[in-house]
């Protein structure tokens, strides 16, 4: 009988595998080409997939790199969405400044919740972040004068001007490439971070927290840094989602947005950044097409989760790279 006593649940692939980066390049170029080809319906699905991919990568920084299994990422996702809406509705600033406002929301929320929860050990950390989710979700539903509650707030977008050109997000293809640029940027930034010394420290904390501490690293500081980076990119994803729907409601704080990233990352593969995209694509395509002919498609999805976890605890990318 194998009983794992270690705190490491899922240890991602040990060696630096290049598979995820090949996959990322393939994925990005495929989405660039698809941007010119896709019809309207499929394009909205593709936009959704790209936005969720940013959230999945952001979550991977927290769970995959530093082994912090947060259930509070809906706080940052919802915070980002409301950052955009508040910026446009209340502050009356343009789309890009509002996006910065939503990143700022994500930063502040992640810093405040992180300072309180990052210190705690595993199970307590999970529950503490889950409590933060619950507090923010309840407050968002209660404070209807600010958030619009379940009905939400809708906004209209002014065209973005970049000096040399003006474009409007109401055009779907423009929206597609707008999101695409942010996906590429996020991947580039996070991948650079993963390759840099900072990323190596994160991984050393994941592999053996005590040893990293003995080596003189400030564990709390690094874990908090990973948590905040994760929160900021989750907020970016939430902001882009609100921009695409031109709407935000208390539902953006719901538990769905906490649990989905965990599922994406575990299906695709932890600690690989681009691996989580496979989880996003699988789940979104599945939801989009299967839900059309069977209402209870989540049953199949539950079975798929169980099968994937049974075959490989490291997700699809981990399985392809040879680890089990």
């Amino acid at each position: 009988m194998d009983v794992a006593k270690t705190s490491m649940d899922v240890s991602p692939p040990r060696e630096k595998i290049s598979l995820p980066s090949y996959f990322a390049i393939f994925f990005l170029s495929a989405f660039f080409i698809l941007g010119f080809l896709l019809p309207k319906g499929a394009m909205s699905l593709a936009i959704q997939i790209m936005i969720f991919s940013i959230l999945a990568m952001a979550y991977d920084v927290s769970l995959g790199f530093t082994n912090q299994c947060s259930l509070g990422h809906s706080v940052f996702f919802g915070g980002g969405a409301y950052g955009i809406v508040f910026g446009i509705l209340y502050l009356k600033i343009g789309v890009l400044p509002s996006l910065i406002c939503s990143l700022l929301f994500g930063f502040v929320l992640a810093l405040v919740t992180g300072v309180i929860s990052v210190r705690l050990s595993e199970a307590y950390f999970v529950i503490m972040t889950a409590i933060f989710f619950a507090i923010f979700h309840l407050l968002a539903m209660d404070m209807t004068w600010l958030t619009g509650g379940d009905d939400g707030l809708t906004m209209s977008l002014a065209p973005i001007s970049l000096g040399f050109a003006k474009f409007s997000l109401y055009d779907q293809r423009t929206n597609y490439f707008f999101v695409f640029v942010f996906l590429g940027l996020s991947y580039w930034v996070l991948n650079r971070m993963a390759q840099a010394p900072l990323g190596k420290v994160f991984i050393s904390i994941r592999e053996n927290e005590k040893r990293a501490c003995f080596l003189g690293y400030n564990i709390f500081g690094y874990k908090l840094a990973a948590f905040v980076v994760s929160g900021v990119f989750s907020a970016l994803s939430g902001g882009l989602y609100a921009l695409t729907l031109r709407y935000s409601s208390a539902d953006f704080f719901s538990f769905t947005w906490s649990i989905l990233p965990v599922v994406w990352c575990l299906i695709g593969g932890l600690g690989t950044l681009a691996g989580s995209w496979i989880g996003v694509v699988l789940m979104s395509v599945f939801q989009y097409y299967v839900s059309a002919w069977w209402t209870y498609y989540l049953i199949i999805f539950g079975v798929i989760i169980l099968v994937i976890l049974r075959v490989s605890r490291k997700g699809i990318i981990g399985y392809l790279a040879g680890g089990r």
């Binding site: 009988m1 194998d2 009983v3 794992a4 006593k5 649940d9 899922v10 769970l63 299994c69 309180i116 210190r119 705690l120 050990s121 595993e122 199970a123 307590y124 999970v126 529950i127 503490m128 889950a130 409590i131 933060f132 619950a134 507090i135 309840l138 407050l139 539903m141 209660d142 538990f255 649990i259 965990v262 599922v263 575990l266 209402t295 209870y296 989540l298 049953i299 999805f301 539950g302 079975v303 798929i304 989760i305 169980l306 976890l309 049974r310 605890r313």
Partner: protein, 286 residues
């Protein structure tokens, strides 16, 4: 002001009785986590399944009390193979087991949605009597629920602390490898613990069904509350879980007298954040 005093008393008793039901469910969760190392996200859905089965038994036979017998039997039949054939590989891996049970939770919810439907329904109050408690008419069924919960809880206490089975369960909770080495059949303990935890949750659902509405997503609200109760009480401390469930629910009940229900719930969570910051190991654990 006697009027406010009696309102507060009413809400306090409501909170305490709800706390007893939550204690049932949370103790099941605590046992499953402590013995098996599974973060059971599907626990709330077993609670929901208990309520749905009670609904069907009541509408088929016209007798609510029969469901108190039928629910444990059905849950035992369903939960034992679930543990043995599906959950066994994930035991001891916290985050993997969490995702696996999320998958199971999807499956249970969608089956309930497909068979029972998405509209909340109510079970008729099976004991429409009310007692006069210090000038407030208090529904008799709620008091009865409190009594039944207390009965189940004391039976659980006897089982865990006064029988040889209980010693084996507690031994597996402390150190599973060692218990195995001492000749305890740990596999048997795993199956029975999961079934026991499932039955506790389902009984909570059955008892709560005539008080709350029966809805296929009703488990989602309860599962987080139960996790919080388990953590605040201290992981693996059954006494702590019991005390935490009662005190948190009573506190929420009292706070509901001057805050809106949503604000009362949020206030409880804020209190818990403060508690966990001061005592990260839980209130009742040395």
């Amino acid at each position: 002001m006697p009027e406010t005093a009696s309102t507060v008393l009413f809400l306090l008793i409501n909170g305490l009785i709800w706390g007893l039901i939550v204690a049932l469910i949370a103790l099941g969760l605590s046992l499953i986590f402590g013995v098996m190392g599974i973060v059971n996200m599907a626990h709330g859905d077993i609670y929901m399944a208990g309520a749905v089965i009670a609904f069907y038994v009541t509408s088929l036979t016209g007798d609510f009390w029969l469901s108190l017998l039928a629910v444990p039997v059905i849950v035992i039949i369903l939960a034992a193979p679930l543990e043995r054939f599906i959950l066994r590989p994930y035991e001891g891996y916290h985050s993997t087991s969490m995702i696996a049970t999320v998958g199971i939770s999807f499956i249970i919810q969608q089956i309930a949605l497909g068979t029972y439907g998405g509209i909340p329904k109510k079970i008729m109050n099976p004991w429409p009597v009310s007692f006069n408690l210090l000038g407030v008419d208090y529904p008799g069924y709620r008091l009865l629920v409190g009594a039944i919960s207390l009965l189940i809880l004391s039976a659980l206490w006897l089982l865990l602390y006064k029988t040889s089975y209980g010693i084996k369960v507690r031994a597996s909770m402390q150190d599973r490898d060692m218990a195995n080495a001492m000749g305890i059949n740990v596999n048997q303990i795993l199956v029975t613990t999961f079934v026991l935890g499932g039955v506790l949750a389902a009984m909570g659902g059955t008892l709560a069904a005539p008080i709350n509405q029966v809805f296929y997503l009703m488990g989602n609200d309860i599962v987080l509350l139960c996790f919080i109760v388990v953590i605040v009480g201290g992981l693996g401390s059954l006494k702590g879980t019991f005390i935490a469930a009662l005190s948190l629910c009573a506190l929420e009940g009292v706070m509901a007298s001057f805050l809106s229900p949503i604000q009362a719930r949020a206030a409880i969570f804020v209190i818990m954040v403060v508690v966990l910051m001061r005592r990260p190991q839980g209130l009742f654990k040395e």
